[in-house]
Amino acid sequence: MFDITPGRTLVEVRNLKMHFPIHAGVFRQRVGEVKAVDGISFDIYEGETLGLVGESGCGKSTAGRAILRLYDITDGAVKIDGIDISSQPQPDLRKMRPTMQMVFQDPQASLNPRMKVRDIIGEPLEEHTSMGKPERREKVLELMDAVGLNRDFANRYPHEFSGGQRQRIGIARALALNPKFIVCDEPIAALDVSIQAQVVNLLEDLQAEFGLTYLFISHDLSMVRHIADRVAVMYLGRIVEIADRETLYSAPKHPYTQALLSAVPEPDPWIEEKVERIILQGDVPSPSNPPHGCNFCTRCPQVMDICRSEEPPEVEITPGHRTACHLYSNS
């Protein structure tokens, strides 16, 4: 789709950092930190889906949670709908919660096994609205309709559902307060292929219906290609490349993005045959001790001397397509 007209900026993330302290030594002093998210910046426009991809442990979930202020962030600013939430105390944030919601990775783990579906979906209503009981019940049933759950299931417990159904419950809960912005943290990773499509379609339908804005976190590049309007690629706590979907998938610039895309297997033996794989060597370094210079320098097939000493700046290659790599910096 080339006809994206960037709407209003709904979410603005600037230099967001989330460091988890590491304690060690005789007195448990702070000896370092896990730099799970180390200075990321991007905008999300109203009504769009921003895909966030990257390998396991690169800080995607942390970023998602930090944006919703589920963590007390280390540094940086997050504005949602124009309101800076980066330093508000938790009680004040409570009022903001209805605008921003989250859908979680593990549909089993994200539902309290001791609560009925009705109560799970009704919880946000109970917390934030003054609806009476019957009203609330009606609303819950409406939500269940919206996500395609049979109303009869309202009195069941989560373990009585299949994975896809559970994820629907989670989505219904996120929708309850008519949010503008939803962070979907790998909502389909734990599901079977045949079920994944159901959930993705549902998310798309809901977006169209309610005008939602998604941050869609995933490591499944093909699914992100399907659902996202723009895609950001993370590596070791940083965003290495961000662009609209078509640009990113057809002309990735950053060596990591290139490698990542090339590694995705293709469910088509004929294409598969022709794929030129860039096989990365080694593993992702530990975020508590990232390499000097460019984070990717330890595995980069096109590494240069400068990469080992200097952090690459972010450059805008074409409008909306930015990458942080020395290959493109000043040359």
Partner: protein, 312 residues
């Protein structure tokens, strides 16, 4: 895609999809529990004992303190089915009264230790800032040599408390308090561990992302989900409390001699084990079987609450 000739409706239950009958989780637990023979036997026995000691006195109305000097040291008879003791008091009535005390001590001490343990465990697990402090406190209590301290505390407060609360209530409160206050640490540790794990569960995160305040996160999402370890702790707590109470009585530091409990009855009778073995055997069996029953219940509960075993 070509349309098939016809698309018949699926007959009901042709292929099991998902059990459609909504089931309460506790019913599942109960179903699983029922398959554990030992636990069922234990439960039946425990219910029987509890019913006997609490309801028994309505049926067997003899006063456990009434002295019928003519029938002293008598063996079992219609008037005294379990015989009479050295003052001619009815042993059945004393067993019932003693059981009431022993089991009440077990239940309340367990309750107390559970409340304290859960409270401390939840606070320490959920609020990181208090964790260090509370865990130090727990370690401290764990490092206290309990039996000696128990003995000292009982010696210390027995009489002051008795003065305030009256004879029976005073000593009862003290013993319950002492047992409860010295046995909460395991529960606290288990609970803390579970809370730490639960806190990272996505549904807790979900609740926080909704904006549920901590208080309600704890009461709605954390507490119900640590119920299983707490319940297992509870059964074991009853068992240890009953044993501790009888040990205290055995060391002569529990309830006073004129206040029957199973431990006390056993202690009083142990010298006569050869002359009147039944007097030792009754309280001994009562303690052992009750504790056995409760332990079996705990074992069964542990199995029943273990989702790996329960299966869905």
């Amino acid at each position: 895609m070509t349309n098939p000739v016809d698309t018949p409706e699926l007959p009901d239950g042709a292929i099991g999809v998902l059990a459609t009958k909504p089931r309460n989780q506790w019913l599942d637990v109960w179903d699983q529990f029922k398959t554990h023979k030992g636990a069922m036997a234990g439960l039946i026995f425990f219910v029987f004992i509890v019913a006997a000691v609490y309801l028994g006195p309505f049926l067997w109305t003899l006063d456990p303190g009434y002295i019928d000097i003519r029938s002293r040291n008598q063996g079992p008879s219609w008037a005294h089915p379990f015989g009479a003791d050295q003052l001619g008091r009815d042993i059945l009535a004393r067993m019932l009264a003693g059981g009431r005390v022993s089991i009440s001590v077990g239940l309340t001490a367990m309750g107390l230790s559970l409340v304290v343990g859960t409270f401390i465990g939840v606070i320490a697990g959920y609020w990181k800032r208090l964790d260090g402090l509370l865990m130090r406190l727990t370690d401290l209590f764990l490092a206290l040599p309990l039996l000696p301290l128990l003995l000292v505390i009982i010696m210390l407060f027995r009489d002051p408390l008795r003065a305030v609360l009256g004879l029976e209530a005073g000593i009862f409160t003290l013993i319950v308090f002492v047992i409860g206050i010295t046995s909460w640490m395991q529960t606290a540790r288990i609970v803390r561990g579970d809370v730490l794990a639960l806190k990272e569960r996505e549904y807790v995160l979900a609740a926080r992302s909704i904006g549920t305040p901590s208080r309600r996160v704890v009461s709605r999402h954390i507490l119900p989900n640590i119920l299983s370890p707490i319940m297992v702790s509870a059964t074991l707590g009853i068992a240890t409390a009953i044993i501790t109470e009888s040990s205290l009585s055995f060391l002569g530091l529990g309830f006073p001699p004129d206040y029957p409990t199973w431990g006390r009855l056993l202690f009083d009778a142990k010298d006569m084990i050869q002359q009147y073995p039944e007097r030792v055997v009754w309280p001994g069996l009562a303690i052992s079987l009750t504790v056995l029953a409760v332990n079996y219940i705990g074992d069964g509960l542990r199995d029943a609450l273990d989702p790996r075993i329960r299966g869905r």
